[in-house]
């Protein structure tokens, strides 16, 4: 090999090494970082989680090389993912609705949350801290919602009851969730109870709904917004907090709490069993249930904060699921284990007796 050729080879190798070092520098930096993998909700819910939890968490822990990456999804899809990854989880933190959280516990995909690693539990109402029979904490509430009702302000007589859905003037112009919506089952169980039924006797509620002349049982929440925007819908059942958020945007909707009451639910944050970054995940959970994050979620989504001493604006306080003067004590939170045990039967009866009738 001539000297010129040798020099050329050496220069080429040096050049390649320089490029490789420059290219790998960001990767090397990222290797030093710890990334907590979390799920989130979708739409406005995810926007609020991002603004109140994920972005502030990343800002606070950036200097420590800790960050969170959140995948948007439904509670049900998150549970499916947790089940399928049970032997080798990739998620550290999961956000699940009430009911699905109990199902996840039953499926053995949740880990116990240590109080010493999540000191913000001390600021929370006891109702928002979910424990197993042995006292281990498996979920923490991040805010309560209620499945209430709404009406179009153009209606003559302001409705105040669930049974107004059956009034002839609203025939074909009402809307109610379908089984694909998380609040469907608790709402059906709640109304069945109001009608005198029980979890083992669903006849009252099924007979009642078989006679309802509904416009649609909505499969997706986006359909509700489209229906409200078109002006076709005069009355319906929806998340009270989201209905308030829609009213704030100028849509013709007035949320209300029917005189019979409303079934409540909550969004929760959980530690995944076998999480790759358990300690960091608990840092995220601690951050998510901090008074700042919970009050922020309450202001943005009108979720009732599970705090001993919530700090809310007058605007948000009026929109709480328990009303302007109530508290967490006033909510009718369902017995999720009982509901989960009868979930299949409730859906089956609905399909047979109400749908395709």
């Amino acid at each position: 090999m001539s000297l010129a050729s040798y020099r050329c080879v050496v220069q080429s190798v040096a050049c390649c090494l320089t490029v490789a070092v420059v290219v790998s520098m960001p990767y090397a930096t990222s290797l030093a970082e710890t990334v907590v993998h979390s799920t989130g909700y979708t739409g406005v819910w995810f926007d609020a989680q991002k603004a109140c939890v994920f972005d502030p968490f990343n800002a606070k822990y950036k200097s420590e090389g800790l960050s969170v990456v959140a995948d948007p999804g439904l509670s049900s899809t998150t549970l499916v993912r947790l089940r399928s990854e049970k032997s080798k989880p990739t998620l550290d933190v999961a956000w699940l609705d009430g009911g699905i959280s109990e199902q996840a516990l039953k499926d053995d995909v949740l880990d116990g949350i240590e109080v010493q690693h999540v000191p913000n539990i001390g600021n929370m109402s006891p109702q928002g801290v979910y424990k197993t029979g042995s006292g281990s904490i498996y979920a923490l509430s991040a805010g309560y919602y209620a499945q209430g009702m709404f009406y179009n302000p153009s209606v003559k007589d302001k409705p105040d009851s669930w049974w107004d859905l059956w009034k002839p003037e609203y025939a074909g112009r009402s809307i109610f969730p379908s089984p694909a919506q998380a609040p469907f089952v608790p709402t059906i169980v709640f109304l069945n109870k109001v009608l005198g039924g029980s979890i083992t006797n669903l006849n009252p509620v099924m007979d009642k709904f078989a006679s309802l002349k509904v416009s649609q049982y909505y499969e997706a929440t986006g359909v509700v917004q489209a229906a409200l925007a078109s002006g076709d819908i005069l009355i319906g059942s929806y998340y009270v907090n989201v209905a308030w958020a829609l009213a704030d945007t100028g849509l013709p909707v007035r949320p209300f709490t029917p005189k019979e009451g409303v079934p409540a639910g909550d969004i929760r944050v959980e530690l995944v069993k076998g999480a790759p970054h358990k300690l960091e995940a608990e840092k995220l959970i601690n951050f998510a249930v901090s008074p700042e994050a919970l009050n922020c979620l309450a202001e943005k989504l009108y979720l009732g904060p599970p705090l001993k001493h919530p700090q809310l604006s007058d605007h948000a306080r009026e929109r709480m699921p328990w009303g302007p003067t109530g508290s967490i004590e006033n909510l009718a939170v369902p017995n999720w284990n009982e509901i989960n045990d009868h979930r299949a039967e409730i859906i089956d009866q609905w399909n047979r007796r109400v749908v395709n009738k």
Partner: protein
């Protein structure tokens, strides 16, 4: 050019491997899941529930009927459009424009299309408005959240697949055969019945099979367009997986749907093959 054994294995093996990985293994896992329950272990109970229930068969029949209607309406509309494009639209630019308009639904999400149809089919929607303006109806038709509405939206979604499949076959028909039919005294209708249509049957068969298979398993369009007032089998499967969390029963429903669809497609293919060979028999 001769294909070496190694290249043949590579060419055939790659798609087979992709099919096995993306379809065979998940399907196998689903089949296993359908035979398992947390309480009873390995069991045929999920299939027993389906076989013994008139309700599930009712939903399955409704789904197959919907798919058949969508296939038939797509075939009629798609064949007409493809025939017009191939035999009557001679301007190249106009043909490209029509194809571009036709395939637009393929580039649009089924969710967006469904929301568009909700606006079109509603009591105050465009279709009822036009029908009333033309004096055809006095009162708005109940199109939205009905089987009719689901069929209309699915037909629109599937139409490009049928048109593209049939037009590719029509384009390859030797025009000499059509001229020969005319020379022998066959009018346009007789030529279509005796020559064009029989020669286009492979396109009709392929297009129909694609549309039928996709319609049977469609979820997004039926779930939005049904307004929760009607059920197809894909919605039942979704409920089992995502609401009831009974993966075993959801898997069993999926397998039953797959088997029934395969049987129907098999029968359809045999019938079409026989009628196609009969059409070619000299008389």
């Amino acid at each position: 050019m001769m294909l070496t054994r190694g290249r043949a294995v590579l060419l055939l093996g790659t798609p087979c491997l992709v099919m096995l990985t993306c379809f065979g293994i998940p399907l196998g896992m689903m089949a296993l899941s359908s035979l398992h329950s947390d309480e009873a272990g390995w069991t045929l109970a999920n299939y027993g529930r389906i076989i013994g229930s008139a309700y599930f068969w009712g939903v399955l029949i409704s789904t197959l009927r919907l798919a058949a209607i969508v296939t038939a309406s797509t075939l009629i509309l798609g064949y007409t459009l493809a025939y017009y494009i191939v035999f009557h639209l001679h301007n190249g630019i106009a043909r490209r424009v029509v194809y571009a308009i036709l395939i637009t639904p393929l580039f649009t999400s089924a969710i967006v299309l469904s929301f568009g149809w909700i606006l079109m089919l509603g009591p105050a929607g465009a279709i009822n408005h036009w029908l009333r303006a033309l004096g055809i109806i006095d009162r708005p038709l109940d199109l939205l959240y009905s089987w009719t509405g689901i069929a209309i939206a699915l037909t629109y979604t599937m139409l490009p697949l049928m048109v593209l499949t049939i037009s590719s076959v029509l384009q390859n028909i030797d025009r000499v055969l059509l001229a020969a039919s005319a020379d022998l005294g066959g009018g346009p209708f007789a030529t279509f019945v005796a020559v064009t249509f029989p020669l286009s049957l492979p396109g009709v068969a392929t297009g129909s099979l694609i549309v039928f298979a996709l319609s049977v398993s469609a979820y997004v369009v039926p779930s939005i367009m049904s307004g929760g007032r009607h059920l197809v089998i894909s919605m039942l499967i979704y409920q089992q997986y995502m609401v009831v969390f009974d993966f075993g029963f959801g898997a069993a429903l999926s397998i039953v749907l797959l088997i029934v669809t395969f049987i129907i497609i098999g029968i359809y293919s045999v019938v079409l093959e026989r009628s196609s060979s009969t059409a070619w028999e000299p008389t």
